[in-house]
């Protein structure tokens, strides 16, 4: 579906001068010069590198994609107001120029003065040709230079006076542009800054004349360097389809020309305008000169203009007459918003006819009572039918009453003054009653629409606030939108910074390449794209970027079923939803960043604690050795052996710590290959105890092995080391002198071997039981010593042999560590 003019987006998001390419505009006034050579000269003077000719008349017209791919230094363009052929990325050629500028490419453009939106009327008045398609004014504002050249021809040729007028207009355009540039430069600011305190408001109505008003306001505002607003005051009377599309076109034009659009609801237009003006601190209001007085003006006793002057106070009021007599635009018709069907008219005719027949049949009624019944019927009908049928009901009932019942009967004449009065009053009452109820119904309809919208937004914000995770929020938002717009919606977020878009799992439709391109474009250029938009309109979805502080956080896609319209109100609502979603996405991003930060800090903290503990474990025995060695010479000979003993203990401890660290490294590198062998369990336990005898500091170790226990199948070194770790662990965590027991047994099946180390110490604190076998977990912090690797190594060595290790409470107090190792069937029994 080709976009209608009202679908134009706001070109106010042009790339600022300092980032994008340069834009040079050449304004052509019909004359003898050569537009092409002027353009080429300007381009060759201004930049070095490839210059691509993308004029409509170029021998081969390159597509936007190919131009972008070639990355030339400059591009020559003309006929910017033209539509692009179907299937192009953008609907209009001037959008191509904008994208080129955004990509940092210089653009040299030839324009006719009449191509500029705000001058279209003026040029039409000079040449007598109606304004055709135009380029929005902000595009011209973005230009770095505007030159005027006498070149090009028009047919039919213009007279000298017309050409002078055109030239004057073009020169004025260029002069205004230069003045604005100068003002911006003198403030040393790149972006246009409103230099005056003026602010203009233009009142927009559903009339073609409003476009003139909007252009006039834009011109004046630009000359003043003032911002401006287009205000549409919606009154309760419903609009026809035609009027609705007119007002949307007018508002779109205002947006396109860089104005801000405000829609407000009030039955008193003057009061609403003044209210908006006060709110926005506007200094001037622009209105059209009314062509006639409206009946409600007469009722109020003053015209809208008079009321504006009265209410406005210090605000200046500009009244602009229509330049050419406006073809009486589609006035508000007494018609319902929803067109009344034939059934309503039929109902009206049937009701009036019924009452008439009944009145005729029941003779003897006073004609006045019949009139009252008619009135009752009219008022009851007004609750059911629209404006048109109501009008019919009023007229029809009045005429029928007069013709059939008011004497003289069956004649269009009224005998007495009293009857004339009665008839007149009836007629007015019926009409007014009908109109009033119709208006109330329209008001109720509007109220309902507004409430639906408010409810939708409320539900959205509510559910977004409720949602715990981004996924929940997106899921509920998309499903709500599906219902609300009766369409499919999708959300795509960048996979990484500037990465490709990835569809959220809750999306109702997927991307094909065309859809993806539109979505990516919308995300990259921070403007809507896709169907109903001027960019990539050929795809089936409409894509609205999620904007937050000038950044695109993702894209919201909506697929409206074919054949359905997409009114501005819906688009606005989608924009609002997109903003809400952007907030949520940003919240999620911030939360994730915070979490990452916290994780980093935590890992940093762990790292430092680990380094502290390892360095403490290594340096303490080293310090003992060094300190003791220093004193060896000086100390009394009888104390010397004690120092030597300390040195030996420290050296052994150091050896254990280094051994543990190496074991852990071996475990983590995965280089551990157990060498299983058959051995006697008694030998293993005894030699293990022997090995750690020194460190046990005089504790007794009881060894329990069932008599006649067969040989076991395991890695001697790994198992011995694991048991030694457990024994040392028991020695460190139990009071001196406490016995430790070491036992071995098979389970009933003989397939598993249990090796147990039990102590009578205080047991393991509940707080660390869950992480007991993780590395660098240490027991009682008030107890000295240990890197926290021992139990981790025990577990690693057990796992390496296909076994496991567990911890339990020793009946009667203390802890039991059990290593469980799988045993193969006995293939061989040791000789007895």
């Amino acid at each position: 579906m080709p976009p209608s003019p009202s679908d134009s987006t706001d070109p106010g998001i042009l790339p600022p001068r300092d980032t994008g390419g340069r834009l040079v505009v050449v304004l052509l006034v019909p004359g003898d010069g050569n537009a092409i050579s002027a353009l080429q000269r300007a381009a060759e003077d201004g930049c070095k590198g490839e210059i691509v000719d993308a004029r409509l008349t170029a021998s081969v017209l390159p597509s936007l994609e190919t131009v972008l791919a070639r990355r030339p230094a400059a591009v020559l363009m003309d006929s910017l107001a033209q539509d692009n052929p179907a299937g192009s990325r953008h609907a209009w050629r001037w959008q191509d120029a904008v994208e080129l500028l955004e990509s940092g490419i210089d653009v040299f453009v030839a324009l006719a003065p009449g191509d500029v939106a705000s001058r279209a009327d003026a040029v039409a008045a000079i040449t007598g040709r109606p304004p055709a398609k135009t380029v929005p004014d902000p595009f011209l504002d973005r230009a770095d230079a505007v030159n005027v050249i006498d070149a090009g021809t028009v047919s039919p040729p213009l007279g000298e006076s017309q050409r002078s007028a055109l030239r004057a207009l073009a020169l004025r355009l260029a002069a205004e542009h230069a003045e604005r540039r100068l003002a911006a430069l003198s403030r040393n600011l790149q972006s246009p800054v409103w230099r005056s305190t003026e602010r203009l408001i233009v009142a927009v109505s559903p009339s073609p004349f409003s476009t003139q008003l909007i252009r006039w306001t834009r011109r004046t505002a630009a000359a003043l360097g003032a911002p401006w607003l287009a205000v549409y005051v919606e009154i309760t009377r419903p609009l026809t389809e035609e009027a609705r599309s007119l007002i949307e076109n007018n508002l779109a034009l205002a947006r396109e020309l860089g104005g801000e659009v405000v829609v407000t609801r009030d039955d008193d237009v003057a009061a609403a305008l003044v209210r908006v003006a006060r709110d926005r601190e506007a200094t001037q209001i622009v209105i059209g000169k009314p062509s006639d007085r409206r009946w409600h003006d007469i009722l109020r006793g003053r015209t809208m203009v008079e009321r504006l002057f009265e209410l406005g106070g210090k605000i200046d009021i500009h009244m602009i007459p229509a330049a050419s007599a406006p073809t009486a635009g589609p006035r508000l018709r007494l018609d319902s918003a929803s067109p009344s069907g034939w059934s309503e008219y039929a109902l009206v005719v049937a009701a009036i006819g019924g009452i008439t027949v009944a009145g005729l049949l029941m003779t003897g009624f006073y004609y006045l009572s019949v009139g009252l019944v008619y009135l009752l019927a009219v008022i009851l009908l007004s609750l059911r039918v629209g404006r048109g049928p109501m009008l019919l009901a009023g007229v029809l009932s009045a005429l029928t009453w007069e013709y059939v019942f008011i004497p003289p009967k069956f004649a269009i004449s009224i005998a007495s003054v009293q009857d004339a009065l009665l008839f007149g009053t009836y007629f007015v009452v019926a009409l007014v009653a009908g109109q009033l109820t119709a208006r109330i119904r329209a008001q109720a309809h509007n109220e309902r629409l507004r409430e639906e919208r408010a409810t939708a937004l409320f539900r959205l914000t509510h559910s977004l606030a409720e949602a715990g995770t981004l996924d929940d929020a997106v899921q509920s938002a998309l499903r709500q939108m599906d219902r609300l717009f009766a369409a499919q919606t999708a959300l795509a977020l960048p996979s990484a910074a500037d990465g490709p878009l990835v569809l959220h799992a809750a999306s109702a439709f997927g991307f094909d390449p065309a859809e993806r391109e539109a979505a990516e474009w919308a995300c990259r250029h921070r403007r809507p794209a896709g169907r109903f938009s001027p960019t990539l309109a050929s795809c089936s979805g409409y894509y609205e970027p999620l904007l937050r502080e000038g950044r695109s956080l993702g894209v919201l896609g909506v697929k409206i079923p074919a054949g359905r319209a997409f009114p501005a109100a819906q688009r606005e609502l989608i924009g609002t939803f997109a903003r809400q979603l952007a907030l949520i996405v940003e919240r999620e991003q911030l939360r994730r960043a915070g979490e990452r930060e916290k994780l980093l800090a935590e890992s940093d903290r762990l790292h430092r604690a680990l380094l502290d503990s390892v360095s403490h474990e290594l340096r303490t025995p080293l310090s003992v050795i060094a300190s003791a060695a220093e004193d060896l010479e000086e100390i009394r000979p009888e104390a010397r052996s004690r120092l030597l003993g300390e040195i030996r203990i420290a050296a052994l401890r150091l050896n254990r710590v280094v051994g543990n660290l190496l074991d852990q490294t071996r475990l983590e590198s995965g280089a551990l290959r157990p060498r299983l062998q058959w051995c006697g369990v008694d030998d293993l336990l005894k030699s293990t105890v022997q090995e750690v005898h020194d460190a046990l500091a005089g504790r007794s170790v009881e060894i329990h092995v069932p008599a006649g226990m067969p040989a076991v199948h395991l890695d001697w070194t790994l198992t011995g080391h694991a048991l030694a770790c457990l024994l040392l662990n028991a020695a460190v965590h139990t009071p001196a002198g406490m016995p430790v027991s070491l036992s071995a047994e098979y389970d009933e099946t003989g397939r598993r071997l249990f090796l147990r180390v039990a102590d009578r110490g205080p047991g393991v604190p509940a707080a660390i039981r869950g992480r007991l076998f993780q590395k660098f977990v240490r027991g009682d912090p008030a107890q000295a010593g240990g890197v926290g690797l021992g139990l981790s190594i025990v577990r690693g060595f057990s796992l390496a042999q296909g076994g496991e290790v567990s911890m339990g409470d020793n009946p009667g107090g203390g802890a039991v560590f059990t290593i469980c190792l799988p045993q193969a069937q006995h293939q061989y029994q040791p000789a007895p």
């Binding site: 403490h616 340096r619 303490t620 000086e634 120092l643 000295a784």
Partner: protein
């Protein structure tokens, strides 16, 4: 008269080997030694059997060593010597600022330990008497506020004199930059050690035999200064 009781030293240290080493070293020269295996026990022992000096390890398992020092300083002026395996200057300065009198980095020799311990114990033992501190050919008479070098009186500026006096009063012990600055310039100058460096340079030029290689007015890297007296 009963025999003079031996000075009691409390060792607050979690590593049993160091406790044994310290006991060996201290008892060899006639100190009586009491041990505590963690901070809480150390605080208890200090209260129950007030020692004449405390040796405390900074890396205690339950309470941080600095916290132990701070709590003892709240009610006692007992001299404290800090032991640390860490060579972080910040740790040492923090411990000294918390109230420790000197520090010793592990590993240490018995001689070094005993010298430091003597220096901090002297503070309480020689509170009165003729306060004259001598080093090299310099004599600092604390009572008369006179500094002599090779017998003749030396002219010092007021601040130089104050600085020298402060170092002499704490002779043999380290004083942190912060302590000197607070004493001589007031609390606001605590963060500006550059003053100190200037005065220290002047003092060395006037008092040291070779100011480039000071022998008496020593810098304790990153921590402070120490006057090595005879």
């Amino acid at each position: 008269m009963s025999a003079p009781s031996l000075p009691l030293v409390l060792v607050i240290e979690d590593e049993i080997q160091f406790r044994r080493l310290l006991r060996l070293t201290l008892e060899a020269v006639g100190y009586e030694v009491n041990e505590a295996a963690n901070g809480q026990l150390g605080l208890n022992e200090t209260a129950v059997r007030p020692p004449q000096g405390i040796i405390v390890d900074l890396g205690l398992p339950d309470i941080d060593g600095k916290e132990v020092i701070r709590r003892i300083r709240e009610w006692s002026q007992v001299p404290m010597l800090v032991l640390t395996v860490r060579d972080g200057e910040d740790e040492k300065i923090a411990a000294l600022d918390a109230g420790a009198d000197d520090y010793l980095t592990k590993p240490f020799s018995g001689r070094e330990l005993l010298a430091r311990l003597r220096a901090i114990l002297r503070r309480t033992q020689t509170a009165v008497g003729s306060p004259v501190v001598r080093f090299g050919d310099v004599e600092v008479d604390l009572a008369a506020r006179v500094v002599r070098r090779a017998g003749s009186e030396l002219r010092l500026t007021a601040k130089e004199h104050d600085l020298l006096r402060y170092l002499a009063v704490h002779a043999g012990r380290v004083v942190t930059h912060r302590q000197i600055l607070r004493e001589l310039w007031g609390v606001n100058a605590e963060e500006s050690p550059q003053y100190l460096w200037v005065y220290m340079t002047h003092l060395r030029q006037k008092l040291e035999p070779n100011p480039r290689e000071p022998r008496y007015l020593m810098t304790d890297a990153g921590v402070g200064y120490r006057l090595i007296a005879d």
